[in-house]
Symmetry: D5
Subunit: 147 residues, 10 copies
């Protein structure tokens, strides 16, 4: 058994039970963004969060244990993603990557925006020209250490 | 001559003149995010914007023309970026890519978040635990056409 | 269970039942191009379209649900396709890619031709020198946003 | 000297002389699609076509000779293109590749749509919801030989 | 079920029945080159050819149907083949590729040698210094269309 | 200086002097296939062959020496060739590779067809349905040594 | 069934029966180097050699037949091997590759050292500073054919 | 300046002065294998060895200094070498890699054959069936440390 | 059966028995670093170490034998790791690789730091600004042999 | 001008002036590890540090400015390094990567060891069996944020 099999089981259960990620998140007690990442095998659950998942998805005790093991992360099958929705994000990194680098360095100096001390919020913004997806990314700035 | 040479000249001039991207953006009359992308060879300038760049960076008339030609986009030298700041964004796509996909589809159905009808805003948020980089991405949702 | 297994089942049923994509499309009520893509796991079906597929291919209720879940898109096993028919299309992108870019920009300015708000029509054109495959691609032009 | 240098010179001259591909095509006497591909180093010119280019771009005799040499084709710097406009075409091949294959085989049997005995026509279609790029591709069907 | 499974079954049957490709080709009624390619999942059989294969390899009706479906072609597991015999052919393309290109263009002008309207014949030539493999490749020349 | 520079010079001279490979081969005293490969930097010339090339292309003595040094072979810029004419040969290896392997082993047992003790002959065959390119490849069979 | 399955069975049997490759080689009647390569699916056995393997590893008749079929060669899962022992050999090719090329050409002229008419012998050499692995590689020199 | 430029200069001088690697090695005072690797930019020379090279190749003092700097090693332009002579060595690693691993482990246990405490000797062996290249590789066995 | 299956079984047993690597190491009698690597299929166990593992994880005798076979090493699924924790180590090699090379050569001359005669110690260091991971790597320096 | 050119100039000056990294570090006023990384184009210098470098390497004012610009990081030419010393570090990541991951997670929970709030110390340890390279890596542990 490994975490991928638990992920597969959760995704299959979600489809057959017609649950939404928002409903699952409410039951797990975290944001929909973190909860979805966790259910898709990218985050580690506490015992309490895992128990909520166990109940929702009818997991065995062993499967529930696996949710509490730190997973090998990375949710995409290829270095350059083929799925159009995900590719647009890769394209943003490709086209705007140097811009993001320049502007963060201009404001903060040498360092990075953390992808670990990080949170994300995805919202719909109504717009008469077509609704928009608004995504707020927030990561702690970590300066390079000089020694 | 090609656009890369103009980009190289602009970046070199920016360093020797000690300008910031924010200052350049004010002169060009657009946001700092769009202006930086444009100066780094990813966007196309209007004649007026190009004239502002010409004055700032002492470009020749031919170089100024090149700023108005649509560039071949993509600002990174390798498919998986080696620079740590930019890699963290690639990592966000890798770790959270499937999450982003699930949540946008849950809210909007099948389609994508546009990287063309798109804007980005990068801000510093003061935080006693270490300041944070906040990035707002906003892209129009485009539903898949059924026919 | 995942969408790939449903795709496999549909393709196998199509072979053993000797159906054509045109016949399937008529039953699903969409064009043969969209229907084939959907049956091959690239598009999302409505409940009604999925019900038509269920009847045609004798799918279970769970399999029918999966047809209504947005799939992870990308239908080819390698970045450069090995199949000669599909490779010719890759070759068109390789040889004519810069031409297509130049001519669309010349007509429309900076932006893209959408692959989402997009449709395709494949027709046979009789020709005494050998019949021709005529393909009409139609995508909305999306201009880059300036901000 | 090689063909790439001539291509570079032509592209640079086109920018500084502010010509359009349509104007160039008229002078060369072919469609704008073929002419653009030829000027970008993908097609071979006849002596007469090359002479037209020589006059337009002030080429030397040796440069004009190179236009009549069959080039090493392929106009993109990476197997998966980074430019968003060209990527959308790659995405069409990725998402719709298996569909195109199925439908052409359904109509014609085993074989390919030629990318050599091939022509392309790119048109703007006015549309109140946003103008569309319409592209007609026409390639001779070549059946696999049995022996 | 898919074509690969039928190919696997055929290859396994050929080994246990100790048939040669030449014998199989005689039963299928085509050359040994075309027949081998077809049996290895690269060509499409007619109903009559498939019936011969069904009898030879004791295929089910469904497996026999799959032989008549156009396969996804490409018979090698990696872009650069690791098997020494096949690598030598890759090496011929690598070392002599530019030579072949030059000589065909010198004789025919711009275009390609078809790999579709194509046939191949493999023969042993006795030679006191060691027998030779002689391979005749014959492909129709297809000139690039000008338009 | 290296061999590539000599190759570049030869190719440039060939274009400006409007020579054919067949004419060059006659002067060098070998087949057009071997001579073209040699001039394109894939083969090593004898002093006498190099002297013929020196005269034809007005090479310096040092350049002439380089023609007699064994080159680093491989004439293509990418593992999968982008040029359509050369790609068709790659496709033949991809589609027919397993067939070639099977048939040579059936006739000769385990071993390879040499790409070193190898010769190639390219001919035009007139054909009312379109002329054909006929290529004869001849390589010594080398059996695997058992020890 | 395929050759890989037979290889897996042989390797598993070797472990559970605690045989050494040297013992196996003695039973097969060839060197330990050739025998190991053959058992690992890289060489073709004669009927007599296969019979020895059948007895040793308790193979079925069908499995024994597969040992006499020429395998698809290549024993490593990635182009650059990750296993440290095998990587050191890859490193020798990477660091000394150009040296080996120069010295063989200096002694023999243009051509290759055959990897087919080839043998290998691996020996332990006692050494007070730590024992050494001595490997003798012997390959026939094959000169490039001029034609 | 960097080491590659010095390597280029040495190789060019060797060609124009018609020296052999064996002659150079004698002057440098080391084996022909080590000396060739060093001259090709893979090894570090002592002051005395560098002085010999300086005299032989008429190097400047600065170029001579670079020969004493440890180089960034790796002598091949691609991960899978295209040159046929070097490829045969890559093929030996590919085909025999698992065999070499098995036999060294059988004799020595877990560890590697060093490519650092390593030497190589390349010899011609006369043979009536065609002379052979004999290569002796000798590397210290390094056992994995347990801790 | 192969080593991967044993690794899978051990990892699964560790999760369901809620053991730590430190506890396992104590039972095996080696450091936690070496023991973890060994249990994850990267090191070879002695009969005694394997017996301890057998008892802990309830392995069969055959599984226990596999722990004593030298494994094919390499614990990551892709050349560039996607997991963020492991990527940071890849990043250290990418960013600091040239620095490490320079400083080791400055101190020791040409050679390498062994990854075989190597040990590693991972410790937590309490720190009011956030605890730190301290890793000590120790590898024997191996000078390049001159010959 | 770009940072690479400044790096090239510094490295060349270091060779011709026969300075060590330790001496340079003393002048710059930081550790030898950080200073070497900075001089090799991986870190950003303060004005004061840059002034020290300017004096040492006789840099122009513009070159000195570039040392204070955040560089695009990544010091290696290929994803898998070919240099043996650096490869051994890549191998440590490959072989021990999963071990490092397990042990850090066992001690700290889910998160990473920072490569930004990070320092490194490289020391020689005398050892009668051959001196050892000891490297201490210290990175702050960053726990994954839950939200």
């Amino acid at each position: 058994m490994d975490r991928n099999q638990v992920t597969q089981k959760i995704v299959t259960a979600k489809v057959s039970k017609k649950m939404t990620w928002a409903q699952i998140a409410e039951r797990v007690g975290q944001s929909k963004e973190w909860t979805t990442a966790a259910m898709l095998g990218q985050m580690t659950l506490t015992a309490k969060q895992a128990a909520a998942a166990q109940e929702l998805f009818e997991l065995t005790d062993e499967e529930t244990l696996w949710l509490q093991i730190v997973p090998y992360k990375g949710s995409l099958p290829t270095p350059v993603p083929t799925d159009p929705l995900i590719y647009r994000w890769y394209e943003i990194v490709s086209v705007y990557g140097s811009t993001i680098k320049e502007l963060i360095h201009e404001e903060f100096g040498d360092g990075i925006m953390s992808a670990i001390d990080f949170k994300m919020d995805i919202q719909r913004q109504a717009d008469p020209n077509g609704d928009r997806v608004n995504v707020m990314l927030s990561g702690k700035f970590l300066p390079y250490k000089t020694y």
